[in-house]
Amino acid sequence: MTTFDLEAKGLSKHFGTHTAVDALSFGVERGSFFSILGPSGCGKTTLLRMIAGFVEPDAGDVEIGGRSMRGVPPNRRPVNMVFQQLALFPMMSVGENVAYGLARRGVRRADRERKVDEMLERVGLPGSAAKRVDQLSGGQRQRVAIARSLVLEPTLLLLDEPLGALDLKLRERMKIELKQLQAAFGTTFVYITHDQSEALVLSDRVAVMNGGRFEQVGTPQELYYSPATPFVAGFVGANNRIEGRVTSIDGDLVEVRSESGWAVHARRQGALRLGDAAAAFVRPEVAVLGRSMADLALAEPAAVHRGTVESLLFDGANSVVLLREQASRCEFRVALPQTGRYADLKVNEPVLFSFAADRAVCFATGSAHG
């Protein structure tokens, strides 16, 4: 049986006429790393603040460790938070910052100092207790902020986009560190972010949030390979979007024809009928490039499309080529193979490309999903 460290039951919050969080119910398993991923304004911050106790829900309840948090103020919840700007106390030393929560609990000075030293050692900052906060680097501050929370042994650690203020290199390193810290401590982490790469790399499970609701909750792989809604398909990872109408249905595979006349095949998600407005999503790395039909020998001839090179976007392992489909002039991105085979492509060069229909997904658009 799974135990939930966090359970939301019909949680709602409105600000005036705006619905920030709309009747959300979900559970977070003990010891897991759970991310809430969404664009800014999707309600994820409000949700996190309701869990921490800074915002009172209009309806519903939060249970932490099986205990209802209704009417429990933030300082009495078994939850600690790592703030966006970390919110380390600048007037205190590193040691005093980490000892702050222990002192509020009335832990004796000697015990406090011992625990602080232990905790700083565990996060890789031994002997920094006497340092001032502004003597630390961005990554070290991050670790102090986490140590300050984890020293209280909370049931749940909330993290509010803590990597947002760091530069790219440091962010990549801190992602790995966060993951290792979570594994080492075994504390349940609830992490909110608008950065899909952070969510995918770090999490056991991710909830994609939009307009106050969860569009999909699943493992990073599920979100990436089988998005449940067009929003998830568009938000998680890069995707080509081809909009049109359903022109034929063959079991799970459908053909979508764009207004400009380009027909593509994709696996359908949810109900679709002939003539429905639909959008097909194809990931750039799913498509294969070729200069002649021989290069695409594995593909079905019907699934081979023709295009011209619009531009080359070189970014090391993430390089893509931007194509235009020959007849419809639709834009389409294809990832360049890692072998460097097509590194010599020229702008305006005609190419062939193809993708397997069962690795592309198709959703109804229009009235059903807005």
Binding site: N75, F83, F89, Y100, L152
Partner: protein
């Protein structure tokens, strides 16, 4: 060659810009004080004859009245400063943290409005309210709280009320500045880590606002210590405020030497008190001055 000319003209511009402040400091503050210092250090040996001596300062220490008034003025000023701080803190907190935009501007204006009328008129307003035949005593009789109207003027408490009222804005402004710059997430972090209202105030808010608190206290203490009008109007002839002693020496007694000595004693007192205050709060003078 051309470079030295620009340098020279830049230096000239710098001096021209500094000129008003320098003339002010030299002519209106430094010179009169030097003159007063010399004045306080001479004693009369005969008609029109003066000699250098410390007689004026000796009088202060040998005459208990002067010493008592001195201590009393300092004590009441400290109390007035403390009361102003207690009153101004919630006001500054409300403006800085609990209100936004127009409302906080409005609250600031409310604090400022009393300063649109002159200090004399404001103080006379307090007299109209508090004198025996005034508004407040008659109201108390009407409500049946007191049998007969009581005289509320000429009491120490009345002086304190007047002083706090006059000083409030000068405390609110530096407090507002220091509270405004406090990141809300620090307060939330304090609560999140198990603090309550009192411990967050003590461990997070006050340490952050300390330069502002010290700045406000210095300004208010100086204003109160050197206040003449409020103390003498609300306290009456026997308010025993030290500035009144100075006034008496200069104007009533024509004893400028004694008045000058008192003036310097008051200067020394305020300097020592500010120094003690900075020491107790662990603040640096330069940090505090940048907040005023």
């Amino acid at each position: 060659m051309a470079e030295t000319t620009t340098q020279a003209s830049q230096r000239l511009i710098l001096w021209l810009l500094l000129a008003p402040a320098l003339i002010w400091l030299l002519g209106l503050i430094l010179l009169p004080h030097l003159d007063l210092a010399l004045l306080s250090l001479r004693e009369r040996t005969g008609p029109g004859e003066y000699a250098f001596g410390l007689a004026q300062y000796r009088t202060f220490f040998s005459e208990p009245l002067y010493w008592d008034v001195f201590v009393r003025t300092a004590t009441l000023s400290v109390i007035a400063t403390a009361l102003t701080l207690l009153l101004a803190f919630p006001i500054a907190w409300t403006i800085a943290k609990l209100t936004r935009g127009r409302l906080s501007a409005l609250l600031f204006a409310v604090c400022l409005i009393p300063f649109w009328v002159s200090e004399t008129v404001r103080t006379l307003g307090w007299m109209i309210l508090l004198r025996e035949t005034g508004v407040l005593p008659s109201l108390l009789v009407t409500l049946g709280v007191t049998e007969v109207p009581i005289e509320m003027l000429y009491r120490d408490a009345t002086i304190l009320v007047g002083l706090v009222y006059t000083s409030l804005l000068f405390m609110v402004v530096p407090l507002y500045g220091s509270l405004e710059s406090l990141d809300d997430s620090l307060i939330e972090a304090g609560y999140d880590l198990g603090g309550n209202g009192w411990t967050v105030l003590r461990t997070v808010v006050i340490p952050h606002a300390a330069p502002g608190i010290t700045a406000g206290c210095i300004v208010v203490f100086m204003l109160t210590l050197g206040n003449y009008l409020t103390a003498s109007l609300l306290g009456g002839k026997n308010s025993l405020w030290f500035t009144e002693q100075i006034y008496t020496q200069f104007i009533t007694r024509f004893n400028w030497e004694q008045g000058a000595a008192f003036g310097f004693l008051l200067l020394a007192l305020s300097s020592v008190m500010v120094w003690i205050g900075l020491r107790l709060s662990g603040q640096r003078f330069s940090d505090v001055m940048s907040r005023t």
